[in-house]
């Protein structure tokens, strides 16, 4: 199996990066290649990094309530760049209804507070096996 490559990104102005860093480290410890963007990324910057790094997944961490603006914008930017083989996923404080709406738009699974690292790592490994194309 090809090595999984994940871009972990913190979009927007919010600096609460505990979750992003813990997940990044758990993925790395599971043998997944992780690129962490650091803070204050725009959708454009994230899509560009995804393209340059040729990742299989983009994982956004959003705790500021701006998820309904940011996820669709990142999707648009990825599509604009003709990227159609990346799974856009993520986590944060995202109410269930919003998760459903985002999923319908083409966003992959989103993880809320209390999720175990094992569950997150499994998702990346399982999804990668299925070669599921979410952004299309």
């Amino acid at each position: 199996m090809e090595k999984i490559k994940v871009l972990v990104a913190k979009p927007g102005l919010d600096g609460h990066d505990r979750g992003a860093k813990v997940v990044a480290r758990a993925l790395r410890d599971a043998g997944i290649e992780v690129i962490y963007t650091g803070l204050h990324q725009t959708p454009e910057m994230i899509a560009e990094a995804a393209l340059q790094e040729d990742v299989n997944f983009v994982a956004l961490s959003i705790l500021s309530g701006a998820h309904m603006t940011i996820f669709p914008r990142v999707l648009d930017k990825l599509r604009e760049k003709g990227i159609d083989d990346i799974v856009l996923t993520g986590g944060g404080i995202i109410p269930a209804d919003d998760m459903k709406t985002l999923h319908e738009m083409g966003v992959g699974k989103l993880f809320g507070p209390g999720t175990s690292l094992e569950e997150i790592v499994n998702y990346f490994q399982e999804t990668s096996k299925k070669k599921e194309v979410v952004v299309s």
């Binding site: 927007g12 102005l13 505990r18 860093k21 813990v22 309530g65 603006t69 809320g112 507070p113 175990s116």
Partner: protein, 559 residues
């Protein structure tokens, strides 16, 4: 007087103590391999006088209201006056926030605490393209003095104390608050409250900075100096461990890093030429109250002792007020669970009790729904009632520092102090707090702690009720959540644009140029900022002017 310095092998009591402990260890099966607190300190089955061999009553414990203030900064603490019940809030528009404040005051709250939205915290106006989607989301959006006038409409600033959680652009908000007071006809020496204004913990933990560390420190010293001269009842810096803890630090790290930040501000102000006793009484602290009950109480007690000792011995402070560590507490947001959210009410109640037994001066209790969204009015009311039940029904307020003399609590308080001193030495090796920040020391320590805590939860070494044990399968979280109207952003942007175009552009430019000039000349910036906010210069415009002089900061990426 009790002394705890006997550990003689021929002492009968010591032999009995040792025998009991050895036998218990050998003969009593325990349900886990070891017991430790969240800082990783091993906890023994029993504590006795012989666990206090390093504790000296007079040097380390003493009396409330007396050095080293371990037992509290006030002689009679809550018998005199209860802690201030101060709920952090603010959301959406200035009008909505003003309405929530009147609601809270009507329900018995006695101090306000303003939560700003992300763009405001980062120094961007609502109409900045980078603010899109974040205006009014996790706090109130404030662009100009006009917004502050609305937020405090009908609230007399000489009667109510206000805490403002803002750091990067803090001097601008102090200036706006002063301007509102002046418009209400309140003499500015009467305003009471606290500006968070703690940039060091932003680089360390919360990541809401604007400028590089050195000019940021200069701005903070400006506010300290201004406060000393003009607003004697205003707390100029609230040195905050809360966010350090929320970012993943354990209790010892929270305590050590926060106090180290405090000493860094003291040193910076002394370097400006101020006498330590002229400003230190107006420094206050802000801690987290987390799950491990006794560990938290020991942390609060150790904080006071360490501060008092260092301020006296290292910085030569003489005014008792300089030695007294006063603090606000907030219950730990990171302990709240999205699962079975009503359980959070119980967590918050225990954490609040730890804060009161630790002698806090003011308290914010979190609402049960905060892992899902900003709290609803009902959830906020329950959390305020939690404090009122604690204060009026449990009796914990009847005597001062009731846990003093507990072998366990005193032992833990001493260990907190020892562990803290070890961190101070490490920070000194880096060349101080700012150098340690630049080298990523704190960030690495915190990221590592956060990861280890999550691993323990995943392995069920730490149990979180409803999350990794006692889980309700197929739980459908039925809780009403607060939705922010997306039109608020459009309205805010439109109003700001109208206000911006209605100003006298020449006057505005002159005021902003004056700020830049003052920054270049290294003058105290409070005066020119106050002039600018009075002509409705926006926060973003003032920040931009300062960025042109100071530049911005990017952190080393560590995980």
């Amino acid at each position: 007087m009790l002394t705890f310095d006997k550990k003689l092998d021929d002492d009968k009591d010591y032999q009995k103590d040792k025998q009991w402990k050895d036998e218990t260890r050998k003969n009593c099966k325990e349900r886990r391999n070891s017991f430790s607190n969240l800082s990783g300190m091993e906890i023994n089955p029993l504590y006795s006088p012989f666990d206090l061999e390093n504790t000296d009553f007079e040097r380390d414990i003493g009396y409330p209201g007396e050095f080293p203030y371990t037992r509290g900064v006030h002689r009679n603490l809550y018998r005199g006056r209860l802690w201030t019940m101060r709920q952090f809030s603010g959301f959406a528009s200035p009008e909505e926030t003003n309405r929530r404040y009147h609601y809270l005051l009507k329900n018995g709250q006695n101090g306000l605490s303003v939560a700003f939205d992300m763009p405001t915290l980062m120094g961007y106006d609502s109409d900045d393209p980078i603010s899109l989607g974040e205006v009014g989301r996790c706090g109130v959006a404030v662009d100009t003095l006009a917004d502050m006038e609305v937020i405090f409409k009908g609230i007399p600033l000489d009667k109510i104390s206000t805490s403002m959680t803002i750091n990067g652009p803090a001097p601008i908000f102090l200036a706006m608050y002063i301007a509102v007071a002046q418009k209400q006809g309140v003499p500015i020496e009467k305003i009471r409250g606290t500006l968070q204004n703690d940039i060091l913990k932003e680089y360390i933990a919360q990541k809401e900075w604007i400028f590089p560390p050195e000019p940021s420190m200069k701005l903070i010293v400006d506010t300290i100096e201004y406060g000393m001269k003009h607003t004697p009842k205003w707390n100029t810096v609230s040195i905050s461990g809360y966010h350090i803890r929320e970012a993943g630090a354990n209790a010892v790290q929270e305590l050590a890093f926060t106090l180290a930040d405090g000493f860094a501000y003291v040193e910076a102000a002394i370097e400006r030429g101020m006498d330590v006793d002229s400003f230190a009484p107006r420094l206050s602290f802000f801690f987290n109250s987390h799950n491990n009950f006794f560990e938290e109480i020991a942390k609060f007690r150790a904080a006071r002792r360490i501060w008092a000792k260092r301020m006296k011995e290292k910085y030569g402070a003489k005014d008792p007020k300089s030695l007294m560590l006063r603090f606000h507490t907030q219950t730990a947001g990171c302990t709240l669970t999205a699962q079975q959210p009503e359980n959070n009410i119980i967590r918050v109640a225990y954490q609040a009790m730890a804060a009161s037994l630790g002698g806090t001066q003011s308290l914010h209790t979190n609402s049960m729904d905060e892992t899902l969204s900003l709290p609803t009015e009902k959830a906020v009311k329950i959390s305020l009632r939690t404090q009122q039940v604690l204060a009026h029904e449990t009796g914990v307020t009847d005597t001062v520092d009731p846990l003093a003399g507990s072998y366990y609590v005193e032992n833990l308080t001493g260990r907190m102090e020892e562990e803290c001193e070890k961190y101070f030495t490490r920070i000194e090796h880096y060349g101080g707090v700012i150098e340690a920040i630049k080298k990523g020391f704190f960030q690495r320590e915190i990221a590592h702690s956060a990861y280890m805590q999550q691993k323990k939860i995943d392995k069920k070494e730490d149990i979180i009720v409803g999350v990794n044990e006692f889980v309700d399968k197929d739980e459908d979280i039925e809780i009403q959540i607060l939705k922010i109207d997306p039109h608020i952003e459009e309205k805010k942007v439109k109003e700001l644009k109208e206000l911006k175009s209605s100003r006298d552009q020449d006057v505005l430019k002159e005021k902003l140029d004056r700020i830049k000039q003052a920054a270049q000349n290294d003058e105290n910036l409070m005066y020119s900022i106050l002039d600018a906010v009075n002509v409705y210069a926006s926060m973003g415009e003032i920040v931009q002017a300062l960025k042109e002089v100071y530049g911005t900061y990017r952190e080393p990426v560590i995980f």
